[in-house]
């Protein structure tokens, strides 16, 4: 506390209790006295802290609502003035809205809405019967066949990303969506797996070695809500590929030897007798 200024006067200044004349005098002394300034700042910060601690609005707060309303009124006044100026310049006065009597719309001639809907439904049903259901792409086995062939050509000879002697451990590492334990096929040795591009999404390419050291591959792609389809086989450039779907997954097996392919399909739980030749149908 300074010795020159009465604390009561400092307090009165901080609490806004001084008359305007006394306030000006005090502020003149305030500019020349840093110790007094420090004390005033301390007490003002106390006041702010107390008001903030108990939820009181700050003293001398801006009336934002009023400011916004004033701005809005000013803007609307300016807009009205500019509209009046534009109307005056164009020489067109604003016309009052005309009151119109409701007029009944004329009814369209021809069949009514119910009859039109009925005709449309009949035409759609006839087109499904004659042409078949629309397709957004090749049927799943065909797409899986193409994806399997592409994956095997691109990745089968590369080192595996997930080496696994234990199929269950491999399935655990691949996560819940791809957590399918690769089937142990007789005469085939599981080498590992690689991530590959499926027909619609990411797939896992399980790689096996046969007795001659040739790669045999099984592509497993998670698919949502897809109907089970029987396996279809195709021969492409000396590579036997079979694809099928089931249990929410798409499968594509590829091998150079038909015996290896049959062993892999059998290990996957698919009956080889249901295998049909897709190549004969597509080519």
């Amino acid at each position: 506390m300074t010795g020159r200024v009465d604390p009561a006067e400092t307090l009165a200044y901080v609490d806004d209790c001084l008359e305007p004349e006394a306030r000006r005098d005090f502020e003149a002394r305030l500019t020349a006295d840093p110790e007094l300034r420090r004390e005033v700042a301390l007490w003002e910060s106390q006041s702010r802290a107390i008001r903030a601690a108990f939820g009181a609005p700050p003293r001398g707060a801006l009336d934002l609502g009023g400011a916004i309303n004033e701005n809005g009124a000013r803007r609307s006044g300016e807009a009205a003035r500019s509209a009046d100026d534009a109307a005056r310049r164009s020489g067109a006065a604003r016309k009052p809205r005309e009151t119109t009597c409701p007029v009944a719309k004329p009814r369209p001639s021809g069949p009514g809405p119910t009859a039109r809907r009925l005709v449309g439904a009949l035409a759609l049903t006839a087109s499904f019967v004659c042409v078949g259901l629309p397709s957004l792409g090749p049927p799943p086995p065909s797409a899986l066949l193409a994806a399997g062939v592409s994956a095997v050509r691109a990745l089968a000879d590369l080192p595996v990303e997930f080496a696994a002697g234990d199929p269950a451990a491999l399935a655990r590492r691949l996560g819940p969506r791809l957590a399918l334990a690769p089937p142990p096929a007789p005469g085939l040795q599981l080498v590992g797996a690689r991530l590959a591009a499926g027909s619609q999404t990411t797939a896992m390419l399980y790689l096996y070695d046969n007795a001659r050291g040739e790669r045999v591959a099984l592509l497993v792609e998670p698919l949502d809500e897809i109907a089970a389809t029987p396996p279809r086989r195709r021969e492409i450039d000396g590579l036997s590929v079979a694809a099928w779907t089931g249990a929410g997954y798409g499968f594509a097996a590829a091998a150079a030897d038909d015996a290896d392919l049959a062993a892999l399909i059998a290990a996957a739980g698919v009956d080889n007798d249901s295998l049909t030749d897709a190549g004969a149908q597509r080519r």
């Binding site: 209790c17 601690a53 003293r59």
Partner: protein
Amino acid sequence: MSSVREWSDDAGALRRFGLALVRDDRFVFDDVAASALIEKLFRQASLTLVECPGGDRRAARVRAFAQFVRLYRRYARRLALDEDGGWIETPPSGRNCGSAAVGVRSLPLELREALLLVVLAGFTHREAAAALDLPLAVVVDRLVRARTRLAAHMGAARDAAAAWPQTAHLRIVK
């Protein structure tokens, strides 16, 4: 319309003042009781304005606050008598505990009521003296003492907060 808004602002100010002044939850049981008390005090104050149309609305506001202060003083005296002087105001639970709030609540009642009337309710020193029924000089003296003690408390709290990271590693963790 503006009169209604002013009374509403005054009621809010009295509610904040009451929450800051009262350290015993038993004084006002809950929000419903607090609202009823505040409404009663301002209705009494507005009735004096109706009886004297030329009366000052600000004076009516001072009367409402003064009535609240008198009620709480009476309550504190009665509890002190009932408990043979052993009644000590304890900080109520569930309130905010910032350093300013804790500092204000740690002040004695006579300092706290003067400080809160001026800082929180926006009373001038003369109005605070009228509400507390005390001479102006006594109120100013209490205000200076309250601010000095509060500055010491807030400074200590600030020092403790600043020193925490250096002393935290000295804590014994089993």
